[in-house]
């Protein structure tokens, strides 16, 4: 499944970039991210507890930041495995400055869900994937605001 979207960030491009690639912010923005450890530069191991209603799962994941072109573009590659199934997702993020305090963020994603949850849950998967991704960027905007305040 794949999709794309666009949001406007309330920060300049440099600022947005820094927060986007900050592991702590990453942890705060990824739904259900209980643990995020840096393995090497731009590579993390994470435990994600993602649940929609009664369908809850713990996913042991690797998160990789690739194709970094500061401050305009990077890719986020997430691979996870857990009880309900497996996920391999690639998201591409492109930042375009609007003005000093505003940046446009465009994203595309391509996610492949495997295992039990894909075999029986296909009816909801597209919607749920979209939900998780939208949730990520919604939280990210909050993170930006938080860091603005803390500056």
């Amino acid at each position: 499944m794949n999709g794309s979207g666009r949001i406007t960030l309330n920060a300049g491009i440099e600022k947005a970039w820094d927060v986007l690639l900050d592991p702590q912010a990453l942890k705060n923005c990824i739904m259900g991210c209980a643990k995020l450890e840096t393995v090497e530069e731009n590579k993390y191991e994470a435990v994600l507890s993602i649940g929609i209603a009664a369908v809850k799962g713990k996913y042991e994941s690797t998160i990789e930041v690739a194709d970094v072109q500061k401050p305009n573009h990077y890719k986020l590659i997430v691979k996870g495995e857990g009880g309900p199934g497996s996920v391999e997702a690639t998201g591409a993020v492109d930042l375009v400055p609007i003005d000093e305090n505003k940046t446009e963020l465009n994203y595309t994603y391509d996610a492949e869900v495997g295992g039990k949850v894909a075999m029986v849950g296909q009816r909801m998967l597209n919607g749920v994937a979209k939900l998780i991704i939208q949730d990520f960027f919604k939280k990210f905007n909050k993170e930006l605001e938080k860091s603005e305040q803390s500056v």
Binding site: E81, G83, G85, S86, E88, E112, V113, G114, G115, K116, A118, M119, V120, Q122, R123
Partner: protein, 805 residues
């Protein structure tokens, strides 16, 4: 022979099944200390197994063991397969997984709940590989290769030329061609696979109970895989099987797996497949791409056909595949007199579930392009499809008809059956209605399809996968053997042992009918033993309930066994009554002289003598009454020109379907489904119509609902009955069945097999009807299932392109 056979007799099986006393695999109990199996399956379509860590699983109380591919490999050979490509197929992945659902590890535990707890604790590391999903991509250079040692994804490739195809295409006024795609779908009996397997170390032997509806034919492959003499693998089939429709032949890898797991863990094991496993990892029909080209005269006569057929057999070619590709080889040209035929046949492997038998086996894949192209010919020539069909139908005088590819159609009157169809379905009237409806913007459509229904497979047909040279190196295969044993006890009661492992077809009833009639004894003196045991049943390689073989073959074996018993009874009676055998007849339990009716002996007396007083029997006669009859019909191996009569009998089915389509939503409403059958002599019309309806509804499923769907990355998406859609009662249209009977000259009772015909015809006839309704939009249906969404897409696309709105 007109007293019971041919009557609508109710079934002897029913009472036990209606009261919950059926004896299915899950009802027969288990040996002491039996443990339960759960299988860990691959979530990936294509990946290397890096490591498997099951240490945590073993810590769960109640877990008796965990077995992986590496554990079983030393004990097994790869399964034998009937193609020359060196595909190594084991019942569990060894170091690589090739489809979603492939077994990776087996847990054995006290019960299934605990076994599934343990599955969650097994950690498998995979390295994913690029998946291959598309059929035609499998043929391309540079596509991912599933089996490195094979070097490509082609498991089998053969080309056949029959008649003079080039000339036919030169003489044609037009060449009409199209590409068709038939989907992968399943059979989903309500009872899933079930196995109880026990290894006995003292004799190095395996005893397996399983709901396999024809174990003989794959027995040698299983014994070969287990590396044991074949008589050390005893397979016992319970009396009741909860449906199969072919798919339970796919159980045999699991029989081998459970057997070897029992050996490794050291206790009997039981595995009842669950529904998700069944959908993802049992078996299915092939999905097939066909490029078909017809050489056509302007009057609609088809001079010749060229077909490129690509069958997708899934991740491993698994015996009896590539049989799907060749099962209908003799009847590739269907009900038509088309003497020139070229077939370029491929079986390819992709990252999907391996395939095998399901109801219709290859027929639906064959007739979908054939009957679609016949309708396209009519459209192209602006003829009525009925006229194109009639122009090409084999004539009554031509029987027995030899097909281009070697088939011998035993009997038929196709024109009569087709005329009856058009009359019953009020074809002309509907065409008028359709015209009127179109004026009002309503979409009515009518589809036609005529097919030949092969039954009783010739064991030789599978070897057509090999070249004549390759075939010469092996043992030729022919025939279609079936066996039955009839014994009588001293009280004159009868036990009939059949080998046909029924799964709902009423074999017990029909066998009772035949024995009752031949021996002149009432039902209540006859007991049918439907359990099969490879150690004690008469060994007949082809036995089982597949390829609609009971009516043509199983019943014949019963008939001949009954005749043997009858001859012996009469011989004994003639000896005592001092008359000729020809003078005696059986009436109401008595053996009576025709010349002098006062001279008679009761059957009971005769049988009693055979048991209690053997010394009084005619000289040289063996004591007891215990007769086994083997039966095969004439079915030769393929010849050096690749001519093969792949079946014993060939029935005929003609369908007419009318539909109405909601142009706003694309919803399809089937108004009427008419089907005319000629299955030779009908043994029990009650059972016959039940078989036809079941097959038809399965075909309707393939046409409109059922598909095992994989996404373009090989992920399996239809793992539950919420997404794999079987037709339910409200989806079934009004169905009208008519019969004509042209008896088969081949079988003793004149019967032909049936029950698969409409599974073959329904997908295409419904597609034809829908396409006919959508004719104003100029669309062509070339894939299935036809769903409202697809119909709407076609309408919408056509409107956007400026077609009718």
């Amino acid at each position: 022979m007109s007293k019971v056979v041919g009557k609508r007799v109710t079934r002897v099986e029913d009472k036990r099944l209606l009261t919950g006393q059926g004896k299915y695999i899950d009802d027969i109990g288990t040996p002491p200390n039996t443990a339960h199996v759960a299988i860990l399956r691959s979530p990936y379509p294509h990946a290397n197994i890096v490591s498997i860590d099951y240490s945590e699983a073993l810590k769960i109380p109640g877990v008796k063991g965990v077995v992986t591919g590496k554990d079983v490999q030393p004990l097994l050979n790869p399964f034998g397969v009937g193609v020359s490509a060196p595909v190594e197929y084991y019942p569990i992945a060894i170091d690589k997984v090739r489809y979603v659902g492939e077994p990776v590890a087996v847990v054995v535990a006290k019960n299934r709940y605990i076994a599934e707890d343990a599955l969650e604790k097994i950690k498998v590391k995979y390295k994913t590989l690029e998946p291959l999903v598309d059929i035609e991509r499998a043929l391309e250079e540079g596509s991912p290769v599933l089996h490195e040692n094979v070097g490509s994804n082609i498991a089998n490739h053969r080309t056949f030329h029959y008649g003079d195809v080039d000339k036919a295409f030169q003489q044609a006024d037009r060449i009409i061609k199209h590409r068709f795609h038939f989907p992968k779908y399943s059979a989903t009996p309500v009872e899933t696979y079930g196995i109880i397997a026990q290894y006995e170390i003292s004799s190095d032997s395996y005893t397996v109970h399983a709901n396999f509806h024809g174990p003989f034919i794959l027995h040698s492959i299983m014994a070969g895989a287990l590396k044991i003499p074949s008589n050390r693998l005893r397979i016992i089939i319970p009396k009741d099987i909860g449906g199969s429709y072919g798919i339970k032949a796919g159980i045999y890898p699991y029989i081998v797996l459970c057997s070897v797991v029992s050996r490794l863990v050291g206790c009997p094991v039981k595995w009842i497949e669950d529904r998700q496993e069944h959908l993802a990892a049992s078996s299915s029909c092939t999905d097939r791409v066909t490029y078909i080209e017809a050489a056509v005269k302007n009057d609609g006569k088809v001079l010749g056909l060229k077909m490129k057929i690509i069958d997708n057999v899934g991740a491993y070619i698994r015996a009896p595949e590539p049989a799907c590709l060749y099962r209908n080889h003799a009847n590739t040209t269907g009900a038509y007199d088309i003497p020139n035929l070229m077939i370029d046949a491929y079986a390819v492997m992709t990252n999907k579930l391996p395939t095998g038998l399901i109801r219709g086996y290859g027929g639906q894949e064959t007739y979908f392009p054939l009957e679609r192209i016949m309708q396209m010919i009519a459209d192209e020539l602006e003829m009525d499809p009925a006229d194109v069909i009639r122009r090409n139908l084999i004539k009554k005088e031509q029987f027995p008809y030899k097909t281009a590819s070697g088939g011998v159609y035993d009997s038929g009157d196709y024109e009569k059956a087709f005329d009856l169809l058009l009359k019953t379905g009020k074809y002309e009237e509907f065409r008028k209605k359709q015209m009127e409806a179109r004026k009002k913007g309503k979409l009515l459509g009518v589809g036609l399809a005529v097919i030949v229904e092969p039954s009783g497979s010739n064991m030789g047909y599978i070897t057509i996968a090999l070249t004549p040279e390759e075939r010469r190196a092996g043992l030729p295969k022919s025939g279609c053997t079936e066996a039955a044993t009839i014994s009588m006890d001293p009280m004159g009661n009868v036990n009939v042992r059949i080998s046909t492992t029924p799964s709902g077809q009423g074999h017990e009833t029909v066998a009772s009918q035949i024995v009752s009639e031949v021996l002149g004894i009432p039902y209540d003196k006859i007991n049918i033993v439907a359990e099969l045991d490879t150690a004690t049943s008469a060994w007949s390689i082809a036995s089982g309930s597949y390829s609609s073989r009971f009516a043509s073959l199983g019943s014949s074996a019963v008939y001949y066994a009954a005749q043997k018993v009858k001859r012996k009874l009469i011989k004994i009676a003639a000896h005592f009554l001092q008359t000729d055998e020809g003078d005696l007849t059986i009436e109401n339990g008595q053996i009576v002289s025709k010349k002098d009716p006062a001279k008679s002996l009761s059957i009971k007396r005769v049988v009693g003598t055979a048991h209690w007083n053997p010394l009084s029997l005619p000289e040289g006669m063996e004591p007891g009454i215990y007769e086994t009859a083997y039966y095969t019909a004439q079915a030769e191996p393929p010849d050096d020109n690749d001519l093969i009569n792949s079946s014993i009998t060939y029935g005929f089915v003609a369908d007419l379907v009318t539909v109405e389509i909601d142009p706003e939503t694309g919803e399809i409403h089937i108004l009427d489904y008419y089907t005319v059958h000629d299955a030779g002599r009908l043994l029990n019309p009650l059972i016959v119509d039940g078989q036809i309806l079941g097959g038809l509804v399965h075909g309707l499923g393939g046409a409109m609902y059922e598909e095992l769907v994989y996404d373009d990355k090989g992920q399996f998406l239809t793992g539950s009955f919420m997404d794999y859609l079987c037709p339910t009662a409200p989806e079934i249209p009004k169905i009208t069945i008519k019969h004509i009977e042209t008896p088969s000259p081949i079988t003793p009772l004149g019967a032909k097999g049936l029950g698969e015909g409409n599974t073959m015809s329904a997908p295409v006839v419904i597609a034809n009807a829908v396409n006919d309704a959508l004719k104003p939009y100029g669309v062509t249906i070339d894939s299935l299932p036809v769903t409202p969404n697809k119909v709407w897409n076609m309408i919408n696309r056509s409107i956007k392109q400026g077609g009718l709105s």
